[in-house]
């Protein structure tokens, strides 16, 4: 797989304060990578450095196999990438002018510019806006124009700096879905920065988690979400239940973890006697009515729990239970009604041994 971006020992400072400290980072051709982190983690700064808009204080940034040193090299490399910022940043002119801008400054032929612009507008379903002045567009329309302006350049790398953050939820989801259909179809190499872990889950093949300027974990989305490398990553990626315990025995790859005198059976490579952190995603906790003595699942872990709290969490409900330790589950409204859950009532919570992730606590 061709590596388009390679970063080594990158350190960047503002006023002598380290804002980025990245040992290594790679982006390969065709990869869609989401870089997730909270506000102030260094995501946007990192993107600007990769787009050669800012020079790092230290370290090497290799783009398309080249370590750019002078203005001319950076300019040439930048023309092979395109970046979309959080705000649309449109020029004070028509939609056509905005989308054609990059092609005009590359001195493309007029007819070629026209056909490419029309094609880009069609892809983003904004052909009807072609002659509109940029200042009269809604937020969603303006961001579509901004994306069209980048995609029309057929960049080898597309850098997206939280492009949907300023949009309302329905607009955000619609635009995100439309954009990613295009990205998948074009096999577009994309680095998408976001603070929204759910967005990362939906869009990306691979995910990197950044905190305080350092990349903590990078890998396939499913792996990172289900097997976070430390407590911070677990927390950030929505692992609602994080428990401290110790492996008291192990047999055939199955560990018995003692947590507050409760036993958890977990499939893990860790060894007997190790102090561990057990990460349980709320989606992996199944609930059953307490009246059923035997749960209808193959899960090794079943607990009688008392419901402590039920709260709305978007399209699902968040149920917090006490089963000797705090456990959180997400269930649908339908399940909530079917189970007729109420605070204070007993419930059976069930978790598969393969759904719990153990981290060594050193």
């Amino acid at each position: 797989m061709e590596t388009l971006v390679k970063v080594e020992n990158l350190i960047h400072k503002y006023d002598n304060k380290i804002v980025l400290d990245i040992e290594e980072f790679e982006l390969n051709r065709g990869e869609v990578l989401a870089l997730v982190g909270s506000n102030g983690a260094g995501k946007s700064t990192f993107l600007r450095i990769l787009n050669l808009l800012e020079k790092p204080s230290q370290g090497k940034v290799q783009i398309f196999g080249i370590f750019p040193t002078d203005y001319k090299q950076k300019h040439i490399l930048r023309r092979r990438m395109a970046m979309v910022f959080q705000e649309p940043l449109l020029f004070k002119s028509s939609v056509y002018y905005n989308v054609s801008y990059g092609l005009k400054i590359r001195k493309k032929n007029k007819n070629s510019i026209k056909s490419k612009v029309l094609e880009a507008l069609k892809k983003l379903e904004i052909s009807h806006l072609i002659n509109r002045q940029a200042g009269t567009l809604s937020g969603g329309e303006a961001q579509r124009v901004s994306l069209a302006r980048a995609l029309v350049l057929e960049p080898e790398i597309l850098l997206l700096d939280e492009p949907f953050v300023a949009l309302d939820q329905p607009t955000r989801e619609e635009l995100r879905d439309d954009l990613y259909k295009i990205i998948r179809r074009m096999n577009q190499t994309t680095l998408h920065v976001t603070h929204d872990r759910n967005e990362a889950l939906v869009i990306a093949d691979n995910v990197a988690v950044i905190n305080e300027g350092s990349i903590l974990q990078k890998g396939k989305t499913e792996n990172v979400f289900n097997k976070p490398i430390n407590e911070f990553v677990a927390n950030f990626l929505g692992v609602e239940t994080i428990l401290y315990g110790k492996i008291t025995s192990k047999r055939d790859g199955l560990c018995i973890v003692n947590i507050n005198n409760q036993k958890l059976e977990v499939v893990s490579d860790l060894e007997k006697g190790e102090n561990v952190i057990a990460c349980i995603r709320p989606e992996n906790v199944t609930l059953f009515k307490y009246s059923l003595k035997t749960p209808l699942s193959s899960a090794r872990n079943s607990f009688v729990a008392t419901i402590k709290d039920i709260s709305s969490y978007g399209l699902v409900y968040r149920v917090v239970m006490d089963c000797g330790f705090n456990l959180t589950s997400f269930i649908t409204r339908e399940s909530l009604e079917r189970l007729n859950l109420k605070i204070g009532e007993k419930i059976i919570a069930s978790i598969k041994a393969t759904s719990i992730h153990l981290l060594s606590r050193k």
Binding site: L53, R78, F85, G135, A150
Partner: protein, 235 residues
């Protein structure tokens, strides 16, 4: 009051007759002010953009110099240019004193800080990320400069109007370095001074009408362009 009314009547007659002397004075004014404005824009705009957007040591000092330059008395500028171009001065060997070139030099010195000052103010009002977006879309330095000036076109056009106004109506430095020589360096403003001193009020008034008309015409055209694209932004 009679002088005034009589002067206006005769001035209108001179203009209707397309008086040759007045026509040549007008043409010479445009030949001198036109290049002056152009050169001051070519120098002042990049300076304004750099000072408005870049950070570097000494920036505050340069800013102060630009702002001071915006208020330079034209007569003082004329004096310094004259000293430079004087026969015994450092550039005396060029023999430029009392020539249209000397007047252009003086007018450029007057107009450039005005252009730079207005453009830098315009740049500081732009979203700082617009520069990054333009670079990210592949603009080189000159394309970036042009893009940002276009984005701040309302103020950029105001800068052009201010520069033109500053040079077409300037008399102090024109008199000192030009000498108001008939057929060579006499322009609209110096001609008004001369005709008034000589009591030829009809000619002074005629030239004043032309000067006012030229000023109005230039500003009208630029204002039309400036306001034509004004859109009330949603966001």
């Amino acid at each position: 009051m009679d002088i005034f009314i009589e002067g206006i009547k005769q001035a209108i007659q001179l203009l209707a007759e397309l008086n040759r002397e007045i026509f040549l004075i007008t043409w010479r004014s445009l030949l001198i002010s036109g290049p002056s404005v152009l050169i001051s824009l070519l120098i002042g705009m990049p300076i304004g953009v750099i000072l408005g957007l870049a950070k570097f040591p000494g920036r505050k000092l340069l800013l102060s110099l630009v702002y001071t330059g915006m208020g330079f008395p034209p007569t003082v500028v004329g004096l310094f240019v004259a000293l430079l171009l004087w026969r015994s001065g450092p550039l005396g060997y060029l023999s430029l004193l009392y020539s249209p070139t000397a007047m252009i030099i003086a007018q450029v010195i007057i107009a450039t800080p005005i252009v730079a000052g207005l453009i830098l103010a315009a740049m500081q009002q732009l979203d700082p990320k617009l520069k990054l977006q333009s670079l990210s879309l592949g603009a080189n330095r000159w394309q970036l400069l042009w893009t940002l000036i276009k984005e701040a076109r309302i103020t950029s056009l105001a800068a052009i109007m201010a520069a033109f106004g500053g040079v077409i109506s300037e008399v102090g430095s024109a008199m000192i370095v030009g000498g108001n020589i008939k057929g060579k360096t006499r322009i609209l403003t110096t001609a008004i001074v001369l005709f008034t001193r000589m009591g030829k009020f009809e000619k002074a008034i005629a030239v004043s009408i032309i000067l006012l008309f030229l000023s109005f015409l230039a500003n009208f055209a630029l204002t039309y362009i400036q306001q034509r694209d004004r859109i009330y932004w949603k966001h």
